[in-house]
């Protein structure tokens, strides 16, 4: 079966242990970090496995190209110390079960956009930015057949991902396209980071949604009306799996004439939306979620943010109404770009 390709030697030889020392939710010095990582590698229990809020960030912090977060999740599952209460795990795992009909392969051509669990948002895939773009799924009854499964990293259920992902990849491959634009960067992370890390073959080339948007905007450069807005980007956890694509955020902002505000919780220091944290079972997580969201939004407000830009529908759902409450309009990146080209 598929196994995590984790280079233990690299990790044990690491002098910085950025993975844990940079963590924004645990206060860990290098020495402790070394000890705890060793325990984790050896399959022993570690407070890290309990204190981890599953924000994915260590995947980005690790300079060695290792997969500390995937490893943590492996261990959480092996040692049966999941961060979530069991009923929520069961509920989440069942969410990915197709129950409203078999896969219906639509005829599509490239460019092709994979909507994953969010066909209901296909409405915003309109206008010149998306001319000639094929979309699947378009029907909510079909979405489970496209669900990238990566969400289960929050659930200590990496096994579920490995078990289902090959079928999902096959479903997408059935559309006979070489390149697949991923509406959600959770999908991009799945195909570009998770699958390789576990040796799961991906017969198509995933394209990050922002890369697609950027290229389209370049095509339409002359028709862009600069928006002159001050915006903040809410980084989703899965964007930690595609740091190399993060630059497209600023590239796009530049093209459409919006200013990314100066703030504390940006880039590496971005804060999680709090959605996953709030569901976790450990004492104080509910309050932690409140605190993280509060800090995040106050930071935006102080920086004079007018629009909070989202990629992840889950972040949008969790945080959108809160930013709105503070007078900051929540908006998806795609919709922001549409404003610029009309």
């Amino acid at each position: 079966m598929y196994e995590l390709r984790f280079d233990e030697r690299k990790c044990l030889g690491c002098q910085t242990c950025d993975c844990l020392t940079k963590c924004q939710y645990m206060d860990i010095d290098v020495e402790t970090a070394k000890t705890e990582m060793r325990k984790i590698i050896n399959g022993e229990d570690s407070f890290v496995l309990r204190q981890c809020v599953t924000c994915y960030a260590c995947e980005e912090y690790c300079k060695k190209g290792n997969h500390p977060f995937y490893l943590i999740v492996e261990r959480q599952e092996e040692l049966d110390i999941p961060p979530l209460p069991r009923p929520l795990i069961k509920q989440g795992v069942q969410m990915g079960i197709p129950w409203r009909g078999d896969l219906e392969v639509q005829h599509v051509q490239e460019p092709f956009l994979d909507m994953c669990m969010f066909p209901q948002l296909a409405g915003s895939i309109q206008g010149r930015l998306f001319d000639g773009l094929s979309i699947a799924p378009t029907d909510t009854r079909q979405r489970a057949h496209f669900f990238c499964q990566l969400m289960y990293l929050h659930y200590a259920r990496s096994s579920v991902i490995r078990e289902r992902l090959p079928q999902i990849i096959e479903n997408i491959a059935k559309h006979n396209v070489e390149e697949v634009v991923c509406f959600h960067d959770e999908c991009y992370g799945t195909f570009a980071s998770y699958a390789p890390a576990f040796g799961i073959e991906v017969p198509f080339k995933p394209v990050h949604f922002f890369e697609y948007l950027y290229n389209r905007l370049v095509d339409l450069k002359n028709d862009i009306k600069p928006l002159n807005l001050k915006v903040a980007y809410q980084r989703p956890c899965s964007s930690r799996l595609s740091s190399d694509k993060l630059h497209f955020v600023d590239d796009i902002f530049e093209l459409i004439g919006v200013e990314s505000v100066e703030r504390e919780y940006v880039g590496e220091h971005a804060l999680c939306c709090g959605g996953a944290i709030r569901m976790q079972k450990y004492e104080g997580r509910y309050e932690l979620a409140d605190d993280v969201q509060k800090r995040n939004i106050e930071d935006m407000v102080q920086a004079g943010t007018q629009f909070c830009v989202f990629n992840c529908p889950a972040c949008y759902d969790t945080l959108g109404h809160l930013t709105a409450r503070s007078g900051i309009n929540p908006i998806f990146m795609g919709d922001l770009c549409r404003l610029a080209v009309g």
Binding site: P85, Q94, M95, W99, R278, M279, T318
Partner: protein
């Protein structure tokens, strides 16, 4: 038009009487699984006086009279089992009085739950009634006539316990008022007068309710809800007991259903709270979330979604919009509701799921707490395809089995159809039964009121 039809037309006017096949067809059918029964006449009165004259005529001619409200009991209680006149009360739909200070509303029998909600929203934002959660055309009078409950059941009990007074037309045609209104006072109380509770729960077999005074309650500005998810249904009664102990919750509903697959095999407790300020809300949330649910969450046996100032609640509309009847793409839905001890929740679910499995219908189980865990209304719901006889039959059998199960587990079927009524009366103390019989004979000597229902042989 025969002579009866003629005289009915003289009472309510031509366009509000019919003995034509089209009306008879529509009124011969219930929304549930009950077999059709043709009425001879359909009448839609506008005033108590018209109802009175219709009843006098019917009593003289010994023609059955079946009062109909929203027709949403689904249990066939408004089917003319022995023919006669179906009295569609929905045209009597004036809201006559709201007493803001004494917190009650006086309505005509045909006023719909939807209209009352809209009216209070608009004109009395500080008042709310216990809304039953049926489609909006369910009527206020129909609901109390069957001992219905609503979304204030946990704090305040059955809707029929919220009745301050009634106007009824007796089967012999007299108009009779019950409660303080019978002294010509305000419609603010039924007590301390001698108990005349002869009409609530009788499903229109002892008379026709034409006016109802219903208690209203403080309406809080902010509403919130959370869903507590469990794998182990056995924990539910205890959790309900403890949440109701805090006295911080409003509606409390435990439910478990097979579809959508996401929730399959789980038990959910929907917890509704309301308050006038964020402080009040936060206090209530904390007392429930931390005080009661915290230990389950920490042990990993329960998970909470919502019940936080920072999580947008997915509050249902009042009245809610239901689409469950379309699950089988068949436009059919009926449930057995029963008033059960809260402790029986786990067994109700286990056995209910078995019944559903036997009849190949996805299980849909729900228990709404009534009073401080004094009881719950537990419903076993079954969808069916109206166009497929087998599907209808399966559902009907499942419903019969559910009636028996409710009794077996120590509960009582609520607004049962004829099958359930018989099952109840078989188990009833003979003296109670004969008292019911005497009351019925006293009030309705000719047995014209909704005959075939609650008939003591």
């Amino acid at each position: 038009m025969d002579s009866i039809c003629q005289s009915l037309a003289e009472i309510v006017g031509e366009s509000h009487v019919s003995n034509r096949p089209e009306e008879l067809y529509v009124y011969s059918r219930d929304l549930g699984t009950a077999e059709p029964h043709l009425p001879q006449y359909v009448v839609s009165p506008r005033t108590t006086e018209e109802v009175q004259q219709v009843v006098k005529l019917a009593n003289r001619e010994k023609i059955p009279v079946v009062p109909l409200g929203g027709g949403l009991t689904l249990a066939g209680l408004v089917m003319p089992l022995k023919g006669g006149i179906v009295l569609d009360m929905k045209r009597m739909d004036s809201i006559l009085e709201v007493n803001e200070r004494a917190r009650y509303v006086l309505v005509e029998a045909g006023v719909s739950q939807g209209k009352l909600v809209a009216y209070l929203d608009r004109h009395h934002p500080n008042l709310v009634h216990s809304e039953p959660g049926a489609p909006g055309q369910a009527t206020v009078a129909g609901n109390v006539a069957i001992h219905g409950q609503g979304d204030l059941a946990q704090p305040y009990g059955f809707n029929s316990d919220m009745v301050n007074g009634l106007e009824v037309v007796l089967p012999t045609g007299e108009v009779c008022r019950i409660g303080s209104c019978s002294l010509g006072q305000q419609w603010f109380t039924q007590h301390p007068l001698p108990d005349l509770g002869l009409f609530l729960g009788w499903c229109g077999t002892t008379g026709i309710i034409t006016k109802v005074s219903l208690r209203l309650f403080p309406r809080k500005r902010i509403r919130d809800m959370g869903v507590f998810v469990l794998e182990d249904g056995d924990l539910v009664p205890d959790i309900l007991y403890r949440i109701s102990h805090t006295e911080m919750a409003g509606d409390l509903i435990a439910w478990s259903q097979e579809l959508p697959v996401t929730v399959s095999g789980l038990h959910n407790i929907s917890i509704f709270i309301s308050g006038d300020s964020e402080e009040e809300m936060e206090l209530k949330r904390k007392l429930i979330r931390v005080g009661i649910l915290g230990e389950y969450i920490r042990s990993g046996t329960g998970g909470l979604i919502g019940l936080s100032a920072n999580v947008r609640p997915r509050l249902p509309r009042r009245p809610p919009v239901s689409t469950i009847q379309d699950i089988k793409k068949g436009g059919g839905f009926e449930y057995v509701g029963a008033i059960m001890p809260v402790d029986t929740y786990p067994e109700c679910c286990r056995r209910g799921a078995d019944i559903s499995a036997r009849h190949d219908i996805a299980y849909t189980l729900l228990g709404r707490v009534i009073g401080r865990s004094h009881a719950m209304m537990f419903s076993w719901s079954y969808v069916f395809n109206r166009a497929d006889e087998d599907s209808v039959r399966e559902a009907r059998e499942a419903l019969y089995e559910s009636d028996d199960l409710a009794l077996e587990l120590g509960g009582i079927p609520w607004k049962p159809g004829v099958y359930g009524q018989r099952a109840v009366m078989e188990r009833m103390d003979p003296n109670t039964l004969s008292l019911m019989k005497k009351v019925k004979e006293l009030l309705d000597p000719n047995g014209i009121m909704n005959p075939g229902n609650w008939e003591v042989s």
